[in-house]
């Protein structure tokens, strides 16, 4: 039973364009959502998070949007850079920050120069 779903396994975009990574969840108890980025042979690194009381959070080139009614969130990267090429994981928790995280399978983003 996959509670966090990243249905697209990969995405390829041109440098300078927008990357949109999507994530869906099924557990209505989730109240905190995070995005992590992972390079090969490294552990995941935190990118950005959003609480369920918000619908948007922005940090530099990264923006996360949350649509609670649709149980959907997305990560926008503008402009995309070749260094953004990595695996991106969507994660969610049911008891706010610092609680156990449920991860999706990840999306491999490739940014073409």
């Amino acid at each position: 039973d996959q509670q966090v779903k990243q249905n697209s396994p990969s995405l390829s975009v041109q440098e300078g364009r927008i990357s949109i990574l999507n994530c869906d969840y099924t557990n209505s108890m989730f109240d905190y959502f995070l995005w992590y980025k992972k390079y090969p042979a490294e552990g995941p690194t935190f990118l950005i998070s959003i609480s369920s009381i918000k619908d948007k959070n922005e940090d530099g080139r990264f923006t996360v949007f949350l649509n609670k009614s649709a149980k959907h969130l997305s990560l926008h990267i503008v402009p995309s850079q070749p260094g953004d090429s990595a695996v991106y994981f969507c994660a969610a928790s049911a008891h706010g920050a610092n609680s156990k995280l449920t991860f999706g399978k990840g999306i491999t983003l490739s940014v073409r120069p």
């Binding site: 552990g43 995941p44 998070s49 706010g96 920050a97 610092n98 609680s99 399978k105």
Partner: protein, 114 residues
């Protein structure tokens, strides 16, 4: 400032054996979580330790056990290894009471069970 360190980085075991993985959290962090990442999957929560106690546990059998020491470092023990235990084991640290949910991950320990 040292981040999360894990050891060993790679190891090979045979079915039925036992393994111990180690983790030192990021300086200043007091909470350690362990995750299992199978090939092509996202990390799956095993358990979390705070103040030397298991605070939360995921859907893993009792063969998986852990410990946290007074210096906040942690061990993950897996008994009676199965082929399906082959995975990348990730340790993550955080600060209890933190409000961002940000976990700092180590590079992981790659376990292969033959």
């Amino acid at each position: 400032d040292a981040g999360v360190t894990q050891s060993p980085t790679h190891l090979i075991k045979t079915r039925g054996q036992q393994v111990t993985l180690r983790c030192s959290p990021k300086s200043g962090h007091d909470t350690v979580s362990w995750y299992q990442q199978a090939l092509g999957q996202g990390p799956q929560f095993i358990f979390q330790y705070y103040e030397e106690e298991e605070r939360q546990r995921g859907n893993f059998p009792d063969r998986f056990s852990g410990h946290q020491f007074p210096n906040y470092s942690s061990e993950l023990n897996v008994n009676a290894l199965l082929l399906g235990d082959s995975a990348l084991y990730l340790c993550a640290s955080s600060l209890a009471g933190g409000n961002t949910g940000e976990l700092f991950f180590g590079e992981g320990s790659r376990l292969t069970v033959l």
